[in-house]
Symmetry: C2
Subunit: 84 residues, 2 copies
């Protein structure tokens, strides 16, 4: 695997797993007052479009990274609504 691929995979992994600590934090504290609802809705919409883009391109890395990111962020959005 070349340097550029490793760099891209590292980038994708970090921007995907980043939302795990937010998910667990909100789950545990049962509070998401300081997390912007508009950010969550806009970000989820954008990640959904990235997913469609990846499916059109049949690009597995784009599909995988954005599926997982969308899954985590939909849970954070659900927790935000649940604990509002």
């Amino acid at each position: 695997m070349d340097f550029l691929t490793v760099l891209g995979l590292a980038a994708a992994t970090l921007t995907t797993i980043a939302f795990l600590p937010q998910m667990f934090k909100t789950w545990q504290s049962k509070s998401a007052k300081d997390v912007s609802f508009v950010m969550l809705v806009t970000f989820n919409s954008g990640v959904f479009l990235w997913l469609i883009y990846g499916i059109y391109l049949q690009a597995l890395p784009i599909i995988l990274a954005n599926s997982v990111t969308l899954f985590f962020n939909l849970i954070i959005l659900w927790l935000k609504i649940k604990y509002r």
Copy 2:
């Protein structure tokens, strides 16, 4: 511009501007207690790697989207530290 390019640009725009409302919310409320510090550090690191990736590829859309996202998220991280 073909459909796929428009789709990619729409996706990039949404996942970039998503962080503006979070920035303004934190700025106004002076509180980021519910925003995960580990998420911010991990996400900023990942976006930084995406930026390097885009520079290597000389891909202007990747460079632009990730520069702006990094700028917004570094401000959110700074506010998180400032108001902790």
